[in-house]
């Protein structure tokens, strides 16, 4: 039998039900690995070992009773651990959003996505590191230190769901929840060699997700393969009364066929995503992966998404604008620390000025400016219209192809500190992931090779709204005939 920490989610669920392993030993194995490795990786901000073990023991008791009466209901994912990005509320666990302004915040409720996984029997190991308020592409913007890429500790894991991606890549947890507003699940998945889904906007409840850009934020899943990710996705997806932006559409019952046949599948390859400036090996590897899909029967079709180049300025107008509104609530009054003063306005100014990091302040200011009187139409108004054009590019393209394949990022994992204090150069890391968030479409990233330094390269498949099942099937089929997703960094 494989090492406990190497069991996939699917294998772990099966082994637990069969009684081959216990939840207690599985959880202990993960906690031990975290204890030994996380000091080098710094993926976790909060760990709850005692609570996790208590839940594991409870899970074992339930499993034992169930084995005596197997006709009774058993929570589907009972006894398997998960890590949660520190922007999602888990009752009783700190939720810092990687910021000092929420240093002391302990939510009294669970995010819906978390609630659904707890109901399915999962055990939360702890909260993972994130760029502050999910603003960033490297996890360097966390107030609590940077997380290290397990493939090369001197490099970033990507962001903002860097902690979750590392937890999965380094086998500190079988699966993890992340969030993707501009690429924050797909890009760290690519940099860390794991599989990550950004669902369709409106597919997963944002209740309990601390908001950054409300028209863009999506809760996503990271795991070692498409099967595991699809499984967790099915539990978190679905309409929620508490989130008026969830759509009442049925969740497809995702049965991933073990086929090697993708005949009939038309894959659009957008020319705008293969411009000069991307790392040469990234282009080579992505094209190889697309060829592989063609070997499996798919047909690659060149397509054009002409407004791609505008995704960056559009996103960096819309997201900070929404953020400036969403982060107005952090004022030292109801939660988090307060810098005292005799005047209330100073409480707000000092608390926010000192407790927010630079990137957060920059984006709040950008958003405040572009929404302010006299500038709204030129910036925000125009950005919203160009957003429509970006979305229409995808709608039009999906009339002639089923999915779109593209690189996730223009580079592999860069060195910690490489972008210095240069916000625009960091923003350019997101060029390929932003369009999907602006259009609201789903995107699935999975590993398809390595660069000459051995750093993982991910490809993303994007699909029409609410068609995640096609994306999972493509990745699953690819993963049946390749081994990239099975590689583990040497630690």
């Amino acid at each position: 039998m494989a090492e406990l920490i190497d069991l996939s989610l699917v294998e772990a669920v099966r082994s637990l039900r069969e009684g081959a392993i216990s939840s207690r030993e599985l959880t202990e194995a993960y906690l031990a690995r975290i204890t030994s490795l996380d000091k080098h990786l710094k993926a976790f901000l909060t760990l709850m070992p005692d609570a996790a073990l208590a839940q594991a023991s409870r899970a074992d008791r339930l499993l034992a009773s169930w084995r005596k009466e197997p006709q009774t209901q058993l929570p589907a994912l009972l006894g398997v651990p998960i890590a949660i990005k520190d922007v999602l509320c888990v009752a009783g666990m700190p939720c810092t959003c990687g910021s000092r302004i929420l240093e002391t915040f302990v939510p009294p409720f669970n995010a819906t996505a978390v609630e659904r996984l707890l109901a399915a029997g999962m055990i939360v190991l702890g909260k993972t590191n994130t760029d502050e308020f999910a603003m960033g592409s490297s996890t360097e913007n966390s107030a609590y230190g940077v997380t290290h890429n397990p493939w090369d500790l001197s490099r970033v894991p990507g962001g903002s769901s860097g902690g979750s991606a590392v937890a999965v890549a380094a086998h500190l947890s079988p699966v993890a929840l992340g969030t993707d507003t501009g690429g924050s699940v797909r890009q760290p998945a690519s940099f860390c060699g794991v599989t990550g889904i950004k669902p369709t906007y409106g597919r997963v409840s944002r209740y309990g997700l601390i908001a950054y850009g409300s028209s863009l934020d999506v809760v996503g899943v990271l795991g070692r393969d498409a099967m595991d990710v699809a499984l967790v996705f099915q539990f978190i997806a679905g309409h929620d009364q508490s989130d008026a932006t969830t759509m009442n559409v049925p969740i497809p019952d995702i049965h991933l066929e073990d086929t090697h046949d993708l005949s009939g599948l038309r894959i659009g390859v957008p020319e705008e995503y293969f411009v000069t400036g991307i790392q040469a090996q990234v282009e080579t590897i992505i094209r190889q992966a697309i060829s592989k899909l063609e070997e499996l029967g798919a047909r690659a079709v060149p397509v054009s998404l002409p407004h791609t180049r505008y995704a960056l300025p559009v996103y960096y107008i819309i997201a900070p604008a929404e953020a400036s509104a969403n982060l107005a609530r952090y004022d030292g009054v109801r939660y988090g620390p307060r810098i005292p003063s005799e005047d209330l306005w100073d409480v707000f100014r000092l608390t926010r000025g000192e407790m927010f990091g630079s990137e957060v302040k920059r984006r709040i200011m950008l958003g405040t400016y572009t929404l302010s009187a006299g500038y709204y139409d030129a910036y925000y108004g125009q950005a919203q219209k160009v957003r429509t054009l970006i979305k229409r590019d995808f709608d039009n393209t999906f009339e002639s192809v089923d999915v779109i394949a593209a690189p996730v990022a223009p580079t592999t994992a860069f060195k910690i500190g490489e972008h210095g204090d240069d916000p625009l150069s960091m923003y350019l890391e997101d060029v390929f992931t932003l369009p999907a968030n602006l259009a609201g479409i789903p995107g699935l990233a999975f590993p398809v090779g390595y660069d000459h330094s051995g750093l993982p390269i991910g490809m993303q498949i994007m699909g029409p709204h609410f068609r995640e099942e096609i994306l999972f099937q493509i990745a699953h089929t690819y993963q049946k005939v390749t081994e990239y997703h099975k590689q583990k960094p040497k630690l």
Binding site: G202, S215, M247, L312, Y316, Y369, Q382, K385, S425, L438
Partner: protein, 123 residues
């Protein structure tokens, strides 16, 4: 005014080594120091002198980068405020229990008599 001054159209070719415009082009910065202070005040952010200078440069460069959107023809294009076709989602007007007062006050730095305690507004 120099506000609509030139800026190079840069996409993947952005000069990350220099980051911002150098030398005397700094005078062409889109934002004035007063504007930065005004924005910071609107956003209730107290900034140090160093921060004001740094953010002025960085935000000016970012705003310059945005000007490329002006060239996009958006005649008759509706804005997208939500990618979903959902509007006016309502629920029945039936009250249901929420969080308790205790839970709501749990995280506050200062409370008094079941309320959030704050200093007065002095100006």
């Amino acid at each position: 005014m120099l506000r609509n001054g030139e800026c190079a159209q840069r996409l993947l070719g952005f000069d990350s080594a220099r980051g911002i415009f150098s030398g005397d082009i700094i005078l062409l910065m889109r934002l004035t120091k007063e504007e930065v202070e005004h924005i910071a005040n609107l956003a209730r952010l107290k900034l140090t002198g160093e921060e004001k200078g740094r953010y002025r440069e960085q935000l000016s460069a970012i705003l310059d980068y945005f000007t490329q959107l002006q060239g996009v023809d958006t005649t008759d294009i509706p804005p997208t405020s939500s990618v979903l076709p959902v509007r006016s989602v309502l629920r029945p007007d039936d009250p249901s229990p929420g969080l308790s007062l205790e839970e709501l006050l749990e995280n506050a730095p200062q409370t008094e008599s079941g309320q959030f305690r704050v200093p007065p507004v002095l100006d």
